[in-house]
Symmetry: C3
Subunit: 210 residues, 3 copies
């Protein structure tokens, strides 16, 4: 297996897991099966879609390979069936979600660099790819995006993308780079969950009447 | 009148009717006249706009023919004036809305096929065109999109787009295809409203603390 | 200093001020520092980004010049530090915000005309540039967009863009046009705040059961 295949495989696992977490969010809002599929799709591929729309990079991945979309829809519907079991799998899902965050952030950075954009843009697009699926999910479910309020999530996405780009600049071979960057992002996220790490919050309740 | 003109006429009726339902939603949130126009426009052309942005298909319809936008803005403002009468027209509007759903779904599929994309992408874009105007309206009005929770709506859009593409593949002439597809989508939607058909709902209230 | 430099300088002041008002909105929702940066960025450049995505005008300004994004992120974080002082600066911010509204509307119209689109599209894109940063901010903060409900805001954006285009058509020199258009937009907005001007509201509480 080559690096590109390896990361593609992780990506596939990641989008399917994201679809399932999206489906659960839809279930919390008592959506119907179609809503479940839409929220599952938006969660899984919303981040990458927004990245490519911001970069003007067409056709979109899921437009060119519509099989991904069908797989995501299937994973969303599967979630409805296996929902009673999913509470026992919550730790597994947190782990896959943590891996997905690292994978999406790295892929977002990779694709942006491959299009000839600067490293800073690549980091930004790593974050867009890593976290905006969840943001779109929360907007569609009519709640303040979780990642803006709780949990060390987006900053891990940013640091993972930055680390990957840095190691690439240093000439580290791709396999080693992937091992380090994925390990960093995954490990950091797991530790953040375990020890309830979070960023400082900005609480500004002054009302100016404006 | 040719097929293309016929469907264009139905499309124009559809977007004007959607603008008016959007304006009513804005009125439920006590928006000002500008908000009414924005919500009316977003409801009427949001679905088609999102479709073309996802496909990278520029220029957008209303950017190239800005008269549509002016007509939509006018229909939105007209709604404010005739609002007291609109409650007596609610059945008419449900009928136009049902027709619009079928028309938008078919047009979305047609345009996507014409751009050379696959039938599955065309079905997806039929749904995007058919239902995302309402989704954007609900997001701007800060409520969970109706179509994710109630009413058989999005699935009718999907089936209408799929039926149209299937009949086209089977070599059915365009007029007959339009008659069957429009009749199917319109009739299905009217029956769904009349008999309160809805899809199974996914209710998942388990909180994992995540 | 030339016209283009002058308006660019005002634009820079405008996006930094918008970033700071976005950061305060994030603070009202107790977001973490990353949420503050995202909301700050979305408020500052969301309108121009949406305009360019609607027009298919790539690469986006902040993708090509990522320094703007870094400056905006910095202004957002600075807001957290100087928040205790900001209540004393609220009048200054209302003034900068009023100036920003006029500047964004004019720039949006300028850029759209420069791409060869019609004056009506340019006015629409002036409004998109002027007000949709605030709309995206409110969607991300899960509230009904302010500009749809209160304050004379969007209509001033529209009139400023229209006035600028009209004066340009009349052959007024750019400096004089900018002075008049900016003065009009800024002055109108300040007066609207001072005298609590607002547009008529559309209140439609009839529920059709639909």
């Amino acid at each position: 297996m080559q690096e590109a295949q390896f990361i593609s495989l992780l990506w596939l696992i990641g989008i399917l897991a994201e679809a399932m977490t999206g489906a659960l969010s839809a279930g919390k809002k008592q959506m119907d099966l179609f809503g479940v599929v839409i929220i599952g799709c938006a969660t899984a591929i919303g981040g990458g879609t927004l990245r490519d729309m911001l970069l003007g990079n067409y056709p979109l991945v899921w437009v060119e390979n519509v099989h991904y979309l069908i797989a995501i829809a299937g994973a969303s519907l599967l979630t409805v069936i296996i929902a009673p079991v999913m509470r026992y799998l919550s730790k597994l899902f947190l782990a896959i979600d943590a891996l997905g965050l690292a994978v999406f952030s790295i892929i977002g950075a990779q694709k942006t660099l491959a299009l000839g954009f600067s490293p800073v843009v690549a980091i930004v697009m790593g974050v867009v790819t890593g976290v905006f699926g969840g943001v779109i999910r929360d907007i569609l479910c009519n709640q303040v995006p979780l990642i803006f309020q709780k949990e060390l999530y987006a900053i891990i996405s940013l640091m993972t993308a930055a680390l990957y780009i840095l190691l690439q600049h240093l000439g580290i071979t791709e396999w080693v780079n992937l091992a380090i960057s994925l390990g960093f992002g995954f490990g950091f996220r797991i530790l953040a969950i375990k020890y309830h790490w979070s960023m400082p919050t900005f609480d500004y309740q002054y009302s100016s009447g404006h």
